[in-house]
């Protein structure tokens, strides 16, 4: 790579050709502030519209200031990142942005998380020069089951637009209008529920302000907890334990399973269970379904639909219901772990406790916003009573813990309750891309071949590449597996299948970058994709430390089948653990 030398703030720095001033500065420890710029290096996601103009610097010999995020270094360039001209420009531009931004930071749900707030603090903004009663651009607010849009707070960084279109290829959002009234919105500025939005929430995950925030049911959870007539149980998704600690200042990648359980118990949940239990259950059902289809396929049955697609991710389910209505028969019919847990809790566990379904409140803690929507789907309710009553996010759990005066750091680690708290390493890795299919392979291999698996780690299925393909040897039968995370990659894979370019037996798809660990309910990464990498490693660390690492060996799962379900794909299973899909256009 060709190298060039430039001078930044009187320091010479050597950079690769093509590097931007922003990156060159970073190399020598100068952090130029940015607002619209977003670079998730590990995931190949970049948003660089050059629109906010906060990152401007002075380049000697240039007429105007240069946006450092998108100006390439040229040999001999002399850059000043903080002289009077630059500081004045940055401050003035920031004031302009603030002059069109509601000043309700104290009560904003992004308070403390907001990049704009942090920036104005950093820049020492103490007043906003503008005409009295300066006009603000205002828009209709939009509440959906998973997220809310308050676009008065939009600063047109376009991150959400880039994510929704270029990364996720969902196309729910676009910049609309022009000039002062321009904003990112669904078509006709209608509500998100009327758009193709999948509620993946990745727009929320990258929003630098409080314009896009999760729909928050924490208040209802608190009410349920304080209602003596209710038994409130909680399930926590695998990805939550790998990220929750970040909200309490712990290093990314710190596993806080035991502290999390302790905190939940101290919040007053009657039972603290694990979604991982349901994940093991999912593998039993989905794995069996996979083997059934492969078996029939190998027997030469013509109408067998392959590949089988995983169906744990509700945003992904929404995506194929919207865009692949012709392929609704290929995903696994197995419900997601969250919903399996809900169904078992309300139909099995409630009976064990001898409480009425209506008096058992099931709360889920999820890394995900789409789960908030999923638990509201009609098919997951019985007589208007949901299997999962409320879904709150990792971030919301953190603030609930904080607001209840619980000192997370000093908690003693505790264990999950039983029977719905036992889980295997296979369930843990559901939290990362490739994990579900690896878990399925671990079980399917043994069931298919009747042999014990020698090597439990399927490293060929792991990684953060957007699309991965691998072939697993099932004792002489090659099983072709495809993996994609982020919906744009899913689309590529699906289009390839539709056109006959790919031949897979099984495909795992997760809507969020890195899988659930990068979900929109997780602590915000603020553009640092290495955080996602750290969570990814933590998940596999937890797996390797587990005593049992294959779902079909989970003793409580075995017991559940013996006592209640019978066997995988039994009639009861079908009724409680499987679902069907809808063509969104026919709604």
């Amino acid at each position: 790579m060709e190298k060039i030398k430039i001078t930044i703030d009187n320091t010479e720095v050597e950079v690769s050709k093509g590097a931007t001033i922003y990156h060159a500065a970073k190399q020598i420890g100068i952090d130029i502030p940015v607002l619209c710029y977003l670079n998730l290096e590990h995931l190949n996601i970049e948003n660089r519209p050059g629109g906010c103009r906060i990152c401007v610097v002075e380049v000697e010999g240039r007429r105007n200031l240069a946006p450092s995020c998108s100006t390439e270094c040229t040999p001999g360039m002399v850059v000043h990142t903080h002289n009077l001209r630059v500081m004045n420009a940055r401050k003035t531009v920031l004031e302009l942005i603030l002059s069109d931004h509601p000043k309700e930071c104290l009560v904003c749900s992004s308070s403390g998380q907001c990049d704009l707030q942090k920036l104005s603090q950093m820049m020492g903004i103490r007043e906003i020069h503008a005409v009295e009663n300066a006009e603000m651009s205002t828009y209709r607010k939009d509440f959906s089951p998973a997220l809310r849009r308050d676009m008065d707070k939009c600063i047109m960084c376009r991150r959400c637009e880039t994510i929704c279109n270029d990364v996720q290829t969902v196309g729910a959002l676009s910049a609309v209008n022009r000039g002062f009234m321009s904003v990112v919105a669904p078509a006709f500025e209608q509500d998100l529920v009327d758009s193709p939005c999948t509620f993946c929430g990745q727009c929320v995950a990258v929003c630098p302000t409080g314009a896009l925030t999760p729909f928050d049911d924490t208040a209802k959870v608190i009410r349920a907890l304080s209602d003596p007539s209710k038994t409130v149980i909680v399930q926590t998704a695998p990805a939550v334990r790998a990220a929750l600690g970040e909200e309490f200042g712990l290093e990314p990648g710190t596993l806080v399973t035991g502290k999390m359980v302790a905190a939940l118990r101290s919040l007053g949940f009657d039972k603290v269970f694990d979604t991982d239990f349901a994940a093991d259950l999912t593998i039993m059902e989905e794995g069996t379904e996979l083997l059934d289809r492969i078996g029939r396929y190998l027997n030469g049955e013509k109408d067998v639909k392959l590949p089988i697609l995983t169906s744990c991710c509700p945003a992904w389910v929404n995506f194929f219901e919207e865009y692949y209505p012709d392929m609704l028969d290929i995903p696994s019919t197995a419900r997601s772990p969250q919903q399996m847990f809900g169904a078992i809790a309300k139909n099995y566990y409630a009976d064990l406790l001898k409480v009425k379904r209506e008096d058992l409140v099931v709360v889920s803690v999820m890394p995900c916003l789409a789960k908030k929507y999923e638990c509201q789907r009609e098919e997951f309710s019985t007589n208007g009573n949901r299997d999962v009553d409320f879904s709150i996010s990792t971030r919301e759990l953190a603030s609930l813990i904080k607001s209840c005066n619980i000192n997370f750091d000093s908690l003693t680690e505790e264990e999950f309750d039983q029977p719905l708290g036992e889980s295997t390493g296979a369930a843990v890795i559901f939290g990362a891309t490739g994990g579900v299919i690896e878990a399925a392979v671990r079980t399917a291999y043994e069931l298919f071949t009747g042999k014990k698996l020698e090597k439990i780690d399927f490293k060929e299925l792991r990684g953060l590449d957007g699309i991965r393909m691998a072939t697993v040897d099932f004792n002489g039968t090659p099983i072709h597996i495809g993996i994609a995370h982020q919906l744009g990659n899913a689309r590529k894979l699906l289009d390839g299948i539709r056109s006959g370019m790919y031949n897979f037996h099984a495909i795992e798809i997760m809507a969020c970058p890195g899988g659930c660990i990068g979900g929109a309910g997780q602590p915000l990464h603020h553009g640092h994709s290495d955080i996602i990498k750290a969570r990814f490693d933590a998940i596999y660390r937890e797996d390797s430390q587990k005593k049992i690492r294959k779902s079909h060996e989970n003793p409580f799962i075995i017991k559940l089948y013996e006592e209640f379900l019978g066997h995988p794909l039994s009639e009861k299973s079908h009724h409680l653990l499987h679902t069907h899909y809808f063509d969104k256009h026919k709604k």
């Binding site: 050059g50 531009v93 300066a134 047109m156 022009r178 000039g179 009234m181 321009s182």
Partner: protein
């Protein structure tokens, strides 16, 4: 074939068509037929003559008779008197506003005397819908010479030598632009003609396309040969239906002659053009925004570099020039780079087309050599200020430009001098203002335009211009304070320094230049609460002239805020502090005793 002795050239530009020039053509033709003069006189519909103030224009050659404001009912007289009997119809001749003399020969009109027409060489001269007339004037000869006898680099060298700079506003040397695009390697390249003229008050590109579409097509083909492109795209405003029509006709004719298409003139070079329509977004005049728009997207500019010459339309190297720039190209190759560079100033060669408008006698389109002074343009060609008022300022460069004043009248006009004076060439709009124009309001007017046309992508332009406008509004409504002027200045400078594209980077120019040249006027607004030009409604000062007031009390009853007091049959007084400047008293007073300042 009949040998016509006279040609009646009738302007078929948008302006004259709006005043029934099509009917005029019909009437002239039928009267010629009536009198059996079909073999003597030919009626030709041409492009714009530029003298839009007095349209519709009928020009008769070879005697250069210039009839102005011709009405359909005048046609019979023109034919009977002039064509048949050789007597000019005096009352329709152009009358010099100074001498009040009718001028028989357009060569003697001040309007035309100082003009040199290169880009407009065929406008008002040929029938734009007839390719033969273009060919008769050496049309496509430049293209033919180049593609059969020159290497692309040789042609580029001529362009560079000519010193032609982009006429769209920036003034980037055209030859260098072509050279960069020619050196970019790609399987496909594009030549784009920017005809998305959007400056309010500038209409030269439209006039060229309406009056001489072939010159643009020829130049695009030349450019295509030079940079190695076989495809050309004209991005044109949808609001220009006539220009679109003429361009389409021209392209069709060129194709029929094989001057567009495969293997042009047996040279092996192929080139064709297509049209794309703008849809009402000023920012699409900026080349990166234009490219986005051509791709069917929102016309939002992108950060440069990469420049379109490296990565443009569909990611391919793209050369974008505007209409006027292209219109110069064939002439340069026909007459030589030396000829072209002999016209103009040291760094600005050739001519520039300006659209003269505002409070000036001769509104119209003119083409003058670079280096001409504003005084010559406004007072000689433009015929001075309307209604004998006093010249105050001239705005050049549209919303991106600034105001020039009395002290700039003798500055030679070229790219660099205008920038040094705080304005810019822009696309060539020139709006003349007189003593009745309030410069704060003028700045406000332009900001209103920018606010409406800002694409909204970058914060300084989206919000900053809005705030500038709000402050100007505040000053015009009499609520401004002195600190506002300082804030205007700082905000303007920051917007210039930080905005993403040319639109934002130049949008504060009207504010900065009016503050610089008319600081007193701003001060009068904020300190004395007076609008010296008397144009800001909220700053009008109403007083009662005691000697005229009869004390009838009509005004007292009209005043909605009881600001007028006085005894019956005694002179009344207006309390300035109470007065809301509604003007009700002024309307009611029968004795013109209310004085407005």
């Amino acid at each position: 074939m009949a040998q016509f002795k006279m040609h009646l050239l009738v302007c078929g530009g948008t302006g004259c068509r709006a005043s029934q020039s099509e009917i005029i053509v019909e009437n002239l033709k039928s009267e010629i037929k009536n009198l059996g003069l079909e073999n003597d006189a030919q009626v030709v519909i041409t492009g714009c003559f530029g003298f839009c103030e007095k349209g519709p224009i009928v020009k008769i050659v070879p005697d250069n008779t210039f009839y102005t404001q011709v009405k359909p009912e005048d046609c019979a007289e023109i034919v009977r008197e002039h064509i048949l009997k050789g007597r000019k119809v005096k009352r329709l001749l152009y009358e010099d506003p100074e001498t009040q003399k009718h001028i028989e020969d357009s060569k003697h009109m001040n309007f035309y005397q100082k003009q040199i027409r290169i880009a407009l060489r065929n406008c008002g001269f040929i029938d734009p819908e007839n390719i033969d007339e273009y060919i008769a004037r050496d049309g496509y000869a430049a293209l033919g010479n180049i593609i059969t006898g020159m290497s692309p680099q040789e042609a580029i060298d001529i362009m560079k030598k000519s010193g032609l700079r982009g006429r769209g506003g920036g003034g980037f040397p055209t030859g260098i632009k072509w050279e960069i695009a020619s050196k970019s390697k790609a399987d496909q390249k594009y030549v784009v003609c920017n005809a998305d003229e959007g400056d309010p008050g500038a209409f030269m590109d439209r006039s060229i396309l309406e009056g001489d579409p072939h010159s643009v097509i020829e130049a695009m083909a030349i450019c295509g040969y030079c940079i190695g492109a076989t495809k050309g795209i004209v991005y044109i405003r949808a609001e220009y239906p006539l220009a679109i029509k003429r361009l389409k006709i021209a392209a069709r004719q060129s194709r029929a002659y094989g001057l567009l298409g495969q293997d042009i003139l047996g040279s092996g070079f192929s080139f064709d053009i297509e049209l794309r329509y703008g849809a009402g977004a000023f920012v699409c005049g900026e080349e990166t925004a234009l490219i986005k728009s051509m791709e069917g997207l929102r016309g939002e500019p992108t950060v440069k570099p990469p420049f379109p010459a490296e990565k443009g339309y569909l990611g391919k190297p793209t050369n974008v020039n505007n209409v006027e720039t292209f219109a110069n190209v064939p002439a340069i190759f026909l007459k030589g780079a030396d000829w072209f560079s002999s016209i103009g100033t040291a760094k600005s060669k050739g001519t520039k087309v300006f659209a003269l408008a505002g409070k000036i006698n001769n509104v119209g389109l003119i083409e003058v050599p670079m280096g001409i002074t504003l005084r010559e343009v406004i007072f000689e060609i433009g015929g001075g200020i309307k209604d004998g008022k006093k010249f105050k300022a001239v705005q050049t460069g549209g919303p991106s430009g600034g105001c020039l004043t009395e002290k700039h009248l003798d500055t030679p006009i070229d790219f660099d001098n205008l920038i040094a004076a705080g304005s810019m060439m822009g696309s060539g709009g020139m709006i003349v203002m007189d003593e009745d124009d309030c410069m704060v309001s003028v700045a406000k007017f332009y900001l209103e335009f920018t606010v409406e046309e800002s694409c909204g992508k970058c914060a300084p332009c989206r919000i900053g211009n809005k705030r500038l406008h709000e402050i100007l509004e505040k000053i015009c409504s009499g609520k401004g304070v002195e600190a506002d002027i300082d804030y205007l200045k700082n905000l303007s400078r920051v917007i210039k320094d930080t905005a993403l594209c040319g639109l934002g980077q130049t949008s504060p120019n009207p504010v900065l230049s009016t503050i610089e040249h008319f600081h007193d006027e701003y001060l009068a607004h904020v300190k004395e609460r007076i609008c010296p030009a008397g144009s800001c409604k909220a700053l009008k000062l109403y007083t009662i002239l005691p000697d005229k007031c009869t004390g009838c009390t009509a005004c007292v009853r009209a005043c909605p805020v009881d600001a007028i007091t006085g005894e019956k049959r005694q002179a009344h007084v207006i309390d300035v502090n109470k007065c809301i400047r509604c003007g009700a008293c002024y309307e009611k007073c029968k004795f013109t005793a209310i004085h407005v300042q």
